[in-house]
Point group: C2
């Protein structure tokens, strides 16, 4: 089925953002809320701060890394153009992953594709901070 | 249409996670990748570290805050049970927001609902770190 048909089927209002899985709650009142997910958010600082070639090498590595099967969704980001006092925009690359559960995240850590990424790209970064978050029960 | 029908329509494989909006790329090769989004990820540390009553007050405040119309998706989290050296699990609450664009995030900052949240809940936290990320172009 084409994307146009799918959009038509789902509608173009807020319901259009509903996914078919447990990640997005399915009742109208909380349809914006993501649930039953493990968010693994990694921020990378480059050894060569501000070096766009190195940044792009890291991004290419992350694209390959995204092939890991247990990754449900991912986003590759850079700092937005915001600058309030509480914002840390000193990082170079944001790597946000969603997993269906703890076990899938744990599996990702030892996946051969992940180990190869570390082998090939770890020389690029000087610092990594990871925040792992699960639903507040 | 019921959720069961929707699931049947979308299928139960990887395509089931496709959303109908631009947030999720629509071709098979990159369907896992979130695109065209502004991720605003906030981590809160409580004044009363480890105080679950205060944590829950903050969570209740965030649930009210989620009513802001420009928020596309949100997740309210707590640290997962992971403990490698690079992981910062010292925060109390993770507040991950997705906006469709920079303007919607900027609008959220001055939304009356947001200002009320700050007024009602800011006494609960001692530290906030924000990471804003947009697609790497």
């Amino acid at each position: 089925m084409s994307n146009i048909s799918r959009r038509k089927f789902l509608g173009t209002g807020t319901k259009a953002s509903l996914a078919g899985t447990a990640i997005f709650a399915s009742t109208n009142s909380i349809e914006k809320q993501m649930k039953n997910i493990f968010i693994h958010h990694v921020y990378f600082w480059l050894k060569n701060t501000g070096n766009l070639a190195d940044r792009d090498k890291l991004v290419e590595g992350l694209k390959k890394l995204s092939a890991v099967k247990t990754i449900k969704h991912f986003h590759i980001g850079k700092p937005a153009n915001t600058n309030r006092e509480v914002i840390d925009s000193s990082y170079a690359v944001s790597w946000m992953l969603m997993f269906e559960n703890d076990a899938n995240q744990a599996s990702y850590q030892t996946d051969p594709v992940h180990l190869k990424f570390i082998e090939e790209c770890s020389h690029l970064w000087s610092k990594v901070i990871v925040y792992d978050a699960v639903d507040v029960s």
